[in-house]
Amino acid sequence: MTDAEHGLDKAIRAIKIGVDVSEQEALDRELDRFMKWLKPMLAVDTAETKQVLVSHGVVNVLREDCARQGGLAELQEAAPDFAGGFYLVPPIIE
């Protein structure tokens, strides 16, 4: 089994895509060609180069915090009922 075949088999199992035998054989050959085609990119000297993850500058787009008065009573509005200092939960049915 070549490196490409081994890698392909692993990739197909990992991504869980159904392919028949003839397609898998074709993909074996294609993956081998593809990996060879990438060789010039590996030869580029990037020793002093950082990785990037975006094509353009990105700024924080989180909405501005909007503060308001709250309180324990408001927070507990959505909470389960409580009694005697404990929240009441449904009984466990065995």
Binding site: G7, I15, V19, E23, M41, V44, T46, K50, S55, V61
Partner: protein
């Protein structure tokens, strides 16, 4: 009213003034859509009654005194953009009947401005490709030659004059190569100019929404409508810090255009001459054409494929028959995933997803993926340095003439067609494709690449050169 002979603004004015009704305009457009679709396979869906209802609604608004910038303008929408009114197929048979619960921001903005969606256009398998050759519905035929593919269905729609505007997507060059092969104008805007909310892109880093039309003025009119911050797409935050759109009117006198002569060696025989002639024409028109180099184009293309395939592996994992897509009958969960994914994704999407998974696996990740991220950085720097020497860069859009519709291209040959477009996608820079000349009977397009948010300059140069070269009208009758 012949749509190819007037601008979008003029068409909207005739509708706004009541000279023509939107309903009348769309009725005629829909007739042309049906007739031309039989031969060219442009549409996955023609809007029919829905488009007429939209048109009537626009007419009612105008009767009440509203003026809309795109009143009654017929547009097509590529079928990877969600549109709640028609099924959104993503280029997969599994989504033929899928109605998106929401509409993409760009489509919504066009409609709010009065444009009418007349249909959804054909695309490659899960939008993976630049030819429509892998579409489950078969390729869109080039209006210039029935034996060839169009590149993009939206470009074919604009070239035939059945619509004024096509809303499209572009990752590695589908929009730009389509414009090149059909002899129309295609704009891939600056990354972040246009919201991608509602776009099903296979690679999040490079997929953009763009427009195709018959002139630079028309693409800019559309860009002004669809550009701008959208809180549902974080990448549009760049528009928070500056006004979105094309900017103010520009003077094109004395602009310097960078010409990377060595890059043109990669072209199919016979095409180089078209660009040499284009260079002479641009010089004669008063532009200063300067020589420069972009030596990393081939490696940039390889980096694009490593990153985009890795992202497609991740993005397509949600199409598993449970979260999205039709579920197949199976004996257990593993088999269910495998069978469902196998049927949702076509041959090309399966290939890219599997290769992408391989690239992300142990052993490949450090060697290939990380290296691709570093090459991406170098490519960005290379283009920035080139644009430090000139105002615009000139590159071809396609390596070859459009492919034969009946022939199945080798996958690697098809991928290397993106040699001139994919590297630009890595930079996030705007790119406008316009006709450069002809090779035989085929139009050949060139890309003008500018600095971020320089779409207005590129469009002004485009319209000036169209007048100077007198290549138009390029539409097909």
């Amino acid at each position: 009213m012949e749509l190819r002979k007037i601008s979008i603004r003029q068409a909207a004015e005739t509708v706004n003034s009541g000279e023509v009704t939107a309903e009348g305009l769309i009725e005629k457009t829909l007739e042309s859509c049906s007739i031309l679709n039989e031969g060219l396979n442009i549409f996955t869906q023609i809007a029919g009654i829905d488009a007429l209802e939209q048109a009537k609604a626009i007419d009612r608004k105008i009767e009440k005194g509203e003026k809309l910038p795109l009143a009654g303008v017929p547009v097509t929408v590529k079928d990877d953009l969600c549109y709640g009114v028609l099924p959104t197929g993503f280029g997969s048979p599994a989504f033929k009947e899928f109605f998106s619960p929401y509409t993409a921001t760009a489509v919504e903005r066009l409609m709010d401005a009065g444009a009418i969606v007349v249909g959804k256009t054909n695309l490659d398998d899960m939008s993976m490709g630049s030819t429509t050759a892998s579409s489950p519905d078969g390729p869109t035929i080039n209006p210039w030659d029935p034996e060839r593919t169009a590149g993009s269905a939206g470009a074919a729609a604009v070239a035939t004059g059945i619509c004024m505007l096509a809303l499209e997507s572009d990752s590695g060059g589908a929009l730009r190569q389509g414009a090149s092969h059909c002899g129309v104008i295609g704009l891939r805007p600056t990354a972040g100019q246009v919201s991608r909310y509602g776009l099903n892109t296979f690679c999040s880093s490079f997929g953009q929404v763009g427009v195709t039309a018959i002139s630079g003025e028309n693409v800019i009119t559309a860009l002004e409508v669809i550009a701008g911050f959208d809180e549902r797409d974080a990448s549009t935050a760049v528009c928070k810090e500056r006004a979105a759109g094309a900017g103010t009117a520009v003077d094109t006198e004395g602009l310097r255009i960078g010409y990377p002569a060595a890059a043109f060696d990669h072209l199919e025989p016979g095409l180089r001459e078209v660009f040499e002639q284009a260079r002479e024409q641009y010089s004669a028109a008063g532009f200063e054409c300067i020589d420069l180099e972009l030596p990393l184009l081939p490696e940039a293309l390889q980096a694009y494929y490593v990153i985009s395939l890795a992202e497609s592996s991740s993005n397509h994992s949600r199409f598993d028959g449970i979260r999205f897509g039709a579920v197949e009958e199976a004996g257990d969960l593993e088999e269910l995933y495998s069978k469902s994914r196998g049927s949702i994704l076509g041959r090309e999407a399966r290939r890219r997803s599997i290769f992408g998974t391989h690239l992300l696996s142990q052993g490949s990740y450090d060697l290939y993926y990380r290296q691709a991220l570093r090459v991406w950085n170098l490519v960005r720097r290379e283009f920035a340095a080139a644009l430090g020497q000139c105002d615009l860069l000139m590159l071809p859009a396609a390596k070859t003439l459009p492919g034969r519709a009946a022939a199945e291209a080798d996958f690697l040959d098809a991928w290397t067609e993106d040699l001139f477009c994919a590297p630009v996608s890595l930079t996030g820079l705007p790119s406008l494709c316009l006709p450069a000349g002809q090779a035989g009977k085929f139009p050949v397009g060139l890309q003008l690449i500018g600095r971020p948010f320089s779409e207005g300059i590129m469009a002004a140069v485009c319209d000036r050169m169209i007048r100077e070269i007198e290549l138009f009208p390029y539409g097909i009758s």
